[in-house]
């Protein structure tokens, strides 16, 4: 523990870029650190942080310890039965990798890709401005960035199966900065899952960014499974660009962390582009999930559909703030946004801010938000069939979440997500609710 305390806080000094990395990246990291210093700390009253607990944003205690023992983390990194590739990181250090990918696909730890595919990474790396409030934290992420995953799928190549990436946080007050950059060429296809988990019971911090760039006609699915321990925090920022006729899925499962902030932004940049933004969160005890989304219709004739569902137990809080933004000229936009909150306790609090900004006509846009408890009739129905009330409530909450998970469109992946979800429900039944 004292070893950790001696380490400099992640807020105190600019980390040195490893000499092996290209010069442009060193410049980016240097500039990012300056930006981090110059960007003011979010405070109460800032619109992107409305309803947020900004006191959660004190990250001074966190440092970047090396991962100590070559522990059992590789063995614990099991989710899907046979992933097409698998990477295991602990504190941003690669512990294990295996890959069985088609030829032409570049799938490398970011630290390697920066050296071997410098230009390709440079072309796509963090090109967009962070718009949903966490620009200070994405700057910090960029400055501290040491590893992550880079995936490039050339045109007409379809990756069957799923690439898995495990990000473990190990040690007292450890911070990690995992980055996932996925680029698909025309008509390519790929699915990547990031798992964020704690190696032990000590508090950790994850500041993760993922950049998804879907080329024309390609299919890009990205899942984030957040199952950290309940002392940890996470800021996760997603940035997706969907080209002409491209189809993307962004999914987030939140079961862990004491406090999680998700920012997801999808730009629909070509005709026929489609984006599904999905999330399931099951907070219990004192957990707080703060989710901000942005559906940016740049091009006419694109489709986006957002479905976020929260089941709130105990003294939990959720915040959902979503915006559908239709640019001038983005006619024939078809955009939907739904946030549903299932209130499982008398002490839970759900905040919803579903928003629309429409600058074009001939659009179909709608949003809906609901917050309510399970109705007595539903419980009665199940009790009449011999199911006890506690179990009945659990079943309904599970079914409520399954509606989102079923949209992932892959049985193995859906099964994996459900296992994480059921772990959480078991956890709640065991000691929480």
């Amino acid at each position: 523990m004292s070893a950790v305390l001696d380490m400099p806080s992640i807020l105190d000094s600019a980390p040195a870029t490893p000499a092996a990395f290209p010069a442009w990246f060193a410049e980016r990291q240097h500039a990012a650190w300056q930006r981090f210093l110059e960007t003011p700390q979010p405070k109460r009253g800032d619109e992107p942080w409305r309803f947020s607990s900004v006191k959660q944003l004190d990250f001074a205690a966190f440092a970047r310890p090396e991962v100590s023992a070559t522990s059992d983390l590789v063995d614990r990194s099991v989710a899907l039965e046979s992933p097409v590739a698998k990477f295991v990181f602990a504190n941003d250090t690669l512990l294990h990798s295996e890959s069985n990918l088609p030829e032409g696909v570049v799938c490398l730890p970011l630290a390697d890709a920066l050296v071997s595919h410098s230009d390709l990474v440079r072309e796509h790396f963090m090109k967009q401005e962070t718009r949903l409030g966490s620009s200070k934290w994405t700057a910090l992420h960029e400055a501290h960035l040491a590893n992550g995953l880079f995936v490039y799928v050339p045109k007409n190549v379809e990756v069957a199966g799923t690439i898995e990436v495990f990000h473990w946080v190990a040690g007292e007050n450890a911070a990690i900065f995992p980055h996932t950059l996925i680029v698909t060429g025309a008509n390519a296809k790929v699915r990547v899952v990031d798992y964020f988990q704690s190696a032990d019971a000590s508090p950790g911090l994850v500041i993760a960014v993922n950049d998804l760039i879907a080329g024309p006609g390609s299919k890009l699915d990205y899942l984030a499974i957040q199952a950290l321990n309940e002392k940890s925090k996470i800021v996760q920022v997603n940035e997706t660009g969907a080209g002409k006729d491209a189809s993307t899925i962004g999914f987030i499962l939140n079961t862990g962390a004491s406090w999680a902030r998700n920012e997801s932004l999808c730009r629909l940049e070509g005709e026929g582009a489609r984006s599904d933004m999905l999330s399931v969160s099951v907070p219990a005890r004192g957990q707080e999930y703060d989710q901000r989304t942005f559906q940016h219709h740049v091009s006419p004739g694109a489709y986006s559909d957002l479905l976020y569902k929260n089941s709130l137990y105990d003294k939990t809080r959720t915040i959902f703030s979503g915006l559908i933004f239709v640019d001038e000229g983005a006619h024939r936009t078809d955009a939907y946004q739904t946030c549903r909150n299932l209130l499982m306790s008398g002490d839970a609090e759900a905040n919803s801010m579903p928003g629309l900004e429409i600058n074009a006509d001939d659009v179909k846009c709608s949003h809906g938000s609901t917050s309510c408890p399970i109705s007595d009739e539903e419980i009665f129905y199940l009790r009449a069939r011999g199911i006890d009330p506690a179990r009945a409530r659990q079943l309904i909450a599970r079914g409520f979440s399954v509606e989102v998970i079923e949209r992932l469109g892959d049985e193995a992946v859906e099964g994996m997500v459900l296992r994480f979800l059921d772990d959480k429900f078991a956890h709640i039944a065991g000691g929480g609710a």
Binding site: E328, H331, E349, A350, M353, L356, G368
Partner: protein, 478 residues
């Protein structure tokens, strides 16, 4: 297909849904005996107090409010930057001819009478109103109510008279629903308020006919700051309507009202606004109602005019089973921004609220909905329904929706829905097939969109509203 693709129609439609503003676009030369001059300082406040012969507590109230106004920042962190274009130093805060409000139209100065006659106020009074107050710049020129209502104990006077003659009823509620420090513009109003109505409806009295106030701005660079307080005692019922117009001056004008409603146990207040300011008026209004046990407060709001309107009528449901409702129609044309919405604060068990908002954006107009619904966790059985629909007429029209809903605990139900649509070519084609002209078809489509809300307005207003849209549509095509 976008409606815009038929370019021949575009320019026409731009005009088409525009409302007839020429009716209010005239003004008479100014003849003010009292003029507080331009800009706002302690001296302005003292001048207003002296002219109005305010009691000491009002003078203190105003001075305190001025401090709050100076300290409060502009809400530009969430609202439009257009607010920065308001120059508080060139605005004239108080203008009046020093006359007392007249009880008969015959005694009203000729020009003022002509003004209100052109706006049809005396005629409407005879036809269907229980009482009228007509405000010209800072003060009421006319104020009258049917005699039998006076006998029932109904009070309908301007705010100055209210705070002087009925202090025992007025003062306990004044500034209680909307505190001075609620926002920058409520503070401004509290500092310089003049005019507006004070209404008290005694226990169990149910007014069959509405009371009406009409607000008229006649002077350039003038700021109108009326203050209205309506108290409906237990079981009382009242409908209050306000209308407003101003001529179109070269420079912008400010209207910043504060309206407080208090509905005691079982009372009902309906507040109807048809806002048709000319398109250089900044209309920044704070309106809120307090509903006690079993009481109901309804805001029925129609915003057609102004350059920028920011108005979010609210209801605080303080007693069990209280009910709050906001029904709102907004029409945003070129150069206009209708930033409207609703605020529902549930503060007792089994309270229910309903928000229905419809907006139409024409040309480069921008309509915004902002809403807040708050249900705390110690309550149970609260329900809210929010619906916002937007209709876009042209490709440069804008619409935004920013609701915020907080629900704590598992004893409540809220639902929110919003949709955005346009008048489609198919729709117009279908109607033209059946022999309607393009203009008639457009008018029918727009009227259909707001029809269910227009019906919530009193008959005379809803007919007027529909007629305005109809007429304009017919003349526009061909």
């Amino acid at each position: 297909m976008s409606y815009d693709t038929s370019t021949s129609l575009d320019a026409d439609t731009r005009e088409a849904i525009d409302i007839d503003r020429t009716k209010g676009d005239f003004h008479f030369p100014e003849r003010h005996k009292f003029d507080a001059g331009r800009g706002l300082t302690e001296k302005t406040i003292d001048y207003i107090c002296d002219v109005k012969n305010d009691p000491q507590w009002v003078r203190e109230f105003r001075h305190k409010a001025l401090q709050v106004f100076r300290e409060k920042p502009m809400p530009t962190n969430w609202a439009t930057k257009d607010l920065e274009n308001i120059d508080f130093d060139i605005i004239r805060y108080y203008l009046s001819d020093g006359e007392k409000p007249k009880r008969s139209w015959d005694e009203v100065p000729e020009e003022v009478l002509k003004t209100f006659e052109r706006l049809g106020i005396p005629e409407q009074e005879r036809a269907f109103l229980a009482g009228v107050e007509a405000q010209y710049d800072s003060e009421a020129a006319y104020s009258n109510m049917k005699e039998e209502l006076t006998k029932l104990g109904v009070i309908f006077v301007n705010s100055t008279e209210g705070l002087k003659n009925y202090e025992e009823i007025f003062r306990p509620w004044f500034g209680k629903v909307i505190p001075t420090s609620d926002n920058k513009f409520s503070a401004l109003n509290s500092a310089v308020f003049s005019g507006g109505s004070f209404i008290y409806i005694p226990k169990g009295v149910k007014l069959k006919q509405p009371l009406q106030a009409y607000f008229r701005i006649n002077s350039e660079n003038f700021g109108q700051f009326e203050r209205t307080l309506i108290i409906a005692d237990e079981g009382a019922e009242v409908m209050y309507m306000e209308g407003c117009t101003a001529p179109k001056f070269e420079t912008s004008t400010l209207h910043s009202a504060v309206v407080e409603l208090v509905a005691l146990k079982g009372a009902k207040i309906q507040y109807v606004t048809v806002q048709n300011w000319s398109s250089n008026v900044f209309n920044l209004v704070t309106k809120r109602g307090l509903a006690m046990e079993d009481a109901e407060v309804r805001w029925i709001d129609c915003n057609i005019g102004s350059r920028l309107t920011m108005k979010y009528p609210g209801v605080i449901m303080k007693g069990e089973r209280a009910r709050g409702e906001v029904i709102s129609i907004a029409l945003a044309n070129n150069g206009q921004h209708q930033d409207t919405g609703a605020k529902m604060i549930h503060a007792a068990n089994n309270t229910t609220s309903n928000i229905v908002s419809k907006s139409i954006s024409v040309g480069e107009g921008r309509a915004t909905y902002r809403g807040q619904v708050h249900i705390p966790k110690h309550l149970k059985g609260c329900k809210n329904n929010t619906e916002c629909d937007a209709l876009l007429i042209n490709s440069h029209s804008r619409t935004d929706t920013y609701p915020a809903i907080t629900v704590r605990g598992n004893q409540h139900a809220t639902q929110h829905e919003a949709s955005v649509s346009q008048v489609s070519e198919d729709m117009l084609f279908y109607m033209q097939q059946r022999g309607l002209s393009e203009g008639e078809a457009m008018s029918l489509a727009v009227n259909g969109f707001i029809n269910d809300l227009v019906r919530e307005f009193p008959m005379e207003y809803s007919v007027e509203l529909k007629r305005l849209i109809d007429l304009e549509m017919e003349g526009s095509v061909g």
